[in-house]
Symmetry: C2
Subunit: 171 residues, 2 copies
DNA sequence: AGGGCTTGGTTCAAGTTTGAAACAAACCTA
DNA sequence: TAGGTTTGTTTCAAACTTGAACCAAGCCCT
């Protein structure tokens, strides 16, 4: 089977996307590191917890929401716990379970950092997009995410598309 | 000054975007790690080099194109050099300069990996978007990148927007 | 020519991420 | 209920990233 290379339009879109996502994550990471002393992911952990019932969530659920591996989350929570932002609690129903709970201090830090963070997201992202584009971004993102979510759910297949063998290599 | 929080539409777009970019980078990293034994960034280095005149580029130019720090590039190129994908050469005009040159082996690896990579990008991204959306993605990405590129070029300012002080914290 | 500033690149330590392996508890199923 | 599998989480080593510090070499100015 011959490879369907990317069209010029697709190439341009792909490169622009890669550049934008790298630059944006970098900018946000730097801002949060400066103002809150933690990278974006760590801030997101606090943020998700703050919106969860009782400000706590099981590790697996948290990882699921953040779209990261459990291993990565374990490390992050350990650090946040050391810093007093989060506390680990046992799970009553399931003794295997571990629950991450946002501390008052964590909540305070989050509240202090939020305005600056929102301002950053706004100035680097939303201030540059039309209302229409915001909608488009959501739809595009949702479409992409949808295709990748299932990963875990995907039925066994011996011919997964990304395992095909092998020129204009896109970046 | 009171914070301009994100509207519900913006929140949704932001979260969808974060999730999508995380999932997509993860999927691509995994595919390339599997099939080419290197993460996405490393593959991109080979790709950019392969398209450069004489298949070589100065470190700074390479970093600039990839939107990464020189430090990060140094590490990556060191690894790629160890693996024989890239060779470092001295720069004639500027004795400080260091040039990364794609080796034949590097080129071969790239050619071998390209079809699988393109297939991945296609199946996880472009197959899920309409032609229209591809155009939208490019425009949105370009708009975002434009605002962040200038960073280096930006004029001195004591009130950079993302340094403002501090509630519905977006992720 | 002799500073002094800027630029190109690397180095280093600390922090983070990855993926596989290890554990333990929960859940079957015979 | 014993044994085997699955699920939730952590651990560990290796790989990668970050940012500051460092070293040269080029540049500029007098």
């Amino acid at each position: 089977m011959t490879t369907r290379w990317l069209t010029p339009e697709e190439q341009r879109a792909w490169r622009a996307y890669i550049a934008a996502s790298l630059l944006l994550e970098d900018a946000i990471d730097r801002q949060l590191q400066q103002d809150a002393g933690m990278p974006h992911l760590y801030y997101s952990i606090l943020s998700v917890l703050s919106e969860s019932p009782d400000r706590r969530l099981r590790m697996t659920d948290l990882a699921e929401r953040l779209k990261i591996t459990r291993s990565r989350l374990t490390y992050a929570v350990t650090r946040l716990e050391k810093d007093g932002m989060v506390r680990r609690e046992a799970c009553r129903y399931d003794k295997r379970g571990s629950i991450a709970a946002l501390t008052d201090e964590g909540f305070a830090v989050l509240e202090r950092a939020a305005p600056g963070h929102v301002e950053t997201v706004r100035s680097f992202l939303f201030d540059r997009l039309s209302e229409e584009q915001v909608g488009q971004l959501e739809e595009i993102s949702a479409a992409i995410a949808e295709g990748l979510q299932e990963e875990g759910t995907r039925p066994a297949s011996d011919d997964v598309p990304w395992r095909r063998r092998a020129s204009s290599a896109c970046s």
